[in-house]
């Protein structure tokens, strides 16, 4: 028997173990997953419905005002307004709203988890070291691989799409927050200490404000990564701009493919311009 044959015959059960783990989790935690599926799905779909109930033009005006309020730039407000009108014109308004609500939910979740975790990593190098390979894995493991267990656990619909999106996007805010906090100049922290700041005061009054541009960059990245997942989210049954892309792919429709593609890019540009940190803007 050739050695490689022997090696091949004694296969280490990597895949089998993972499958068994998923199986156990499914059997014993089914209630939990159902609750998550129902509640998150309810909220996300609820938000989509709410957005769709409002008159589109009212939302366009609101988005324009919001963009101006955040950035004080007439050009940007005009870009947002024209972009949204173009989306209405192309007939992708409903899909855009579904995608927006999916992005909103996954981004809020990613930031809520990512920022505190990033802070913890910056303060505890050991934790950062331990987390590093996991974060690498989350960003490099092909999405379709973890799509399979997500489907088993959460079924088809918005929630598995959102979970894949989160797994892919959450490392960005964790890393950016960690980097931002770790780069706060030692002298500023010492200034805080010298005036008697507590650990919490140093975090809130020095570290977080100093790291804010980085955290904001993490937010922008997180949104962009979420947006890049819309097609995959559509594959597992989440609504949104991915759906027409998948449909166009299946029916080989060049025009529909480009239309929805443009709308995704347009949405990305608008979100990026509104959310990116101020210093690197313009």
């Amino acid at each position: 028997m050739a050695p490689e044959q022997w090696i091949a015959e004694h296969k280490i059960p990597v895949g089998a173990v993972m499958a068994a783990v998923v199986d156990v989790v499914r059997k014993h935690g089914l209630g939990v997953f159902d609750v998550i599926t129902d509640s998150v799905g309810f909220c996300a779909d609820g938000l989509t419905t709410l957005l769709l109930d409002l008159p589109p033009l009212l939302l366009v005006v609101a988005a324009m005002a919001g963009a101006w309020f955040l950035r004080r730039s007439v050009g940007l407000a005009a870009l947002v307004a024209l972009g949204l009108l173009f989306i209405i014109n192309q007939g992708y308004w409903n899909e855009t709203m579904a995608t927006l609500s999916l992005i909103l939910f996954s981004t809020v979740f990613c930031m809520a988890v990512g920022v505190p975790l990033g802070i913890a990593c910056a303060h505890r190098p050991r934790l950062a070291q331990a987390l590093q390979p996991l974060l690498d894995l989350m960003q490099t493991l092909p999405t379709f691989v973890y799509l399979i267990p997500t489907l088993i656990l959460f079924g088809l619909g918005t929630v598995p799409g959102m979970i894949s999106t989160i797994i892919f996007a959450v490392p960005a805010p964790i890393r950016m927050t960690q980097m931002g906090i770790a780069r706060v100049p030692r002298s500023l922290i010492e200034a805080g200490e010298a005036f008697g700041a507590t650990g919490r005061q140093i975090l809130w009054k020095i570290e977080l404000p100093a790291a804010l541009p980085m955290i904001q960059a993490g937010l922008t990245q997180c949104i962009m990564l979420s947006l890049s997942m819309v097609v995959i989210a559509a594959l597992v049954g989440a609504g949104g701009l991915g759906v027409p892309v998948v449909r166009a792919l299946n029916t080989v429709q060049v025009d529909a493919g480009f239309e929805s593609g443009f709308v995704i890019v347009l949405l990305a540009i608008m979100l990026d311009r509104v959310c990116r940190p101020k210093d690197s803007a313009s």
Partner: protein, 394 residues
């Protein structure tokens, strides 16, 4: 404990070591070697432990400016930062007096430490250490904010301190809109705002250009006359130290080699290391008229009974003076006019004497408590510049 009444801050046998290798027991081993008299190099090489400060004893009296000097790496910052425990001494005490009792800041609990930092000890940093996203006002109010003081009360105090440092019109500016000198004034105002009585200043003016540096030194001296803080000041500039220090401490390789008044340091350096600092000082602002002048009592007499001051002759009672038999008017410094002899106080600096000599073309007379006691002419000034007078200074 009555000893707390004079000194506000006292270092007692302070050793500060930095462990670079994180090897267990390295610090203890280093202390043992330090006690056995090994040098900083030997300990550093053998154990990967840096001796920042060793065996430092220093008392800073209430209301004085005590300057730490030394070459780069001599441990000035390390010692200064032990005063608010940014560096924690491995051994020894750092005592803060409140007039009644001592508190050892090196060993007190965290709450006490924070209270001391909030109320007793403030710090001014070389690179200013201002928070760039805050306005000048919010930077100055930072210490008060940490105490939890209400914004309305804070505002008044901040306005007062900004007035003090001459930045009242800049309260709403952001830090980056200010020049370096103005930024350090913000740093000063922030330190004053907490009403701490002890001020730690680590080369606060080193990042500024020489003109602004001198201006801020003058302002600090001016403020100190009114505020009477206890100041520990790190400098690597002997002129700055002589100018603002009421006491100067020279450090070398983590140890204090001499502590004394500027005169002690300038006139009685304990070794070549200290003398080397003095050799490089700028005589113009440091040497005073009293050290430059020839005293009337040392002048020879001319046949006609007048005192012989070279080109100038002076009556024994110093009431009149003549040059080439022409009588000259004698005027005090403030009321001097061209053609008259100028009378200056004994504490006037050599630089100003030279300026007066240059403008009048005449020797300068020196008075002590309203009595004329000596004169400075070209020969005296040159001699002072050559260093002859230096060791008569003070």
């Amino acid at each position: 404990m009555s000893e707390g009444i004079n000194a506000a801050l006292e270092f007692r046998n302070v050793d500060i070591l930095f462990d670079r290798g994180n090897r267990r027991g390295a610090i203890e081993a280093a202390l043992a070697r330090l006690d056995a008299g090994e040098t900083r190099e030997e300990i550093g090489r053998a154990l990967k432990v840096t001796v920042g400060v060793a065996g430092a004893n220093l008392a800073v009296a209430r209301g004085e400016i005590s300057v730490l000097m030394g070459l780069s790496g001599s441990g000035k910052s390390t010692l200064l930062r032990a005063a608010n425990r940014l560096n924690r001494p491995i051994r020894g005490e750092v005592r803060i007096g409140n007039g009644l009792a001592w508190l050892d800041i090196a060993r007190c609990d965290d709450d006490t430490l924070r209270t001391l930092r909030k109320t007793r000890i403030a710090m001014v940093f070389q690179q200013f250490g201002l928070l760039p996203w805050r306005t000048v006002r919010d930077n100055v109010g930072f210490g008060l904010e940490l105490r939890g003081m209400a914004p309305s009360i804070r505002r008044d105090i901040v306005a007062e301190k900004l007035e003090l440092v001459g930045l009242a019109n800049w309260a709403d500016a952001h830090v980056h809109e200010l020049s370096g000198g103005m930024q350090q004034r913000v740093g000063l105002a922030r330190a004053f705002a907490t009403d701490a009585d002890i001020l730690l200043m680590d080369e606060p003016f080193s990042a500024l250009d020489p003109l602004i540096r001198r201006k801020l030194q003058d302002e600090l001296l001016d403020l100190q006359k009114r505020l009477k803080k206890t100041i520990l000041f790190v400098s690597h500039d002997i002129d700055e130290a002589l100018k603002i220090g009421s006491r100067i401490t020279i450090m070398r390789e983590g140890r204090i080699v001499q502590t004394g008044t500027p005169d002690d340091i300038a006139l009685r350096p304990v070794d070549d290391y200290v003398a080397e600092f003095i050799r490089h000082m700028n005589p113009l602002p440091t040497i005073v008229a009293a050290a430059v002048m020839r005293r009337f009592q040392d002048l020879p007499r001319r046949p006609d009974g007048m005192l012989d001051g070279g080109r100038i002759a002076i009556a024994p009672d110093a009431a009149t003076a003549t040059i080439a038999d022409r009588a000259l008017a004698i005027r005090p410094h403030g009321a001097w006019t061209q053609g008259a002899l100028c009378v200056v106080p004994a504490q006037l600096s050599l630089g100003e004497i030279i300026a007066l000599r240059q403008r009048s073309g005449l020797p300068v007379l020196v008075e002590v408590e309203g009595r004329l006691v000596g004169l400075c002419d070209d020969a005296d000034i040159l001699q002072a510049l050559c260093g002859e007078a230096r060791f008569r200074a003070g």
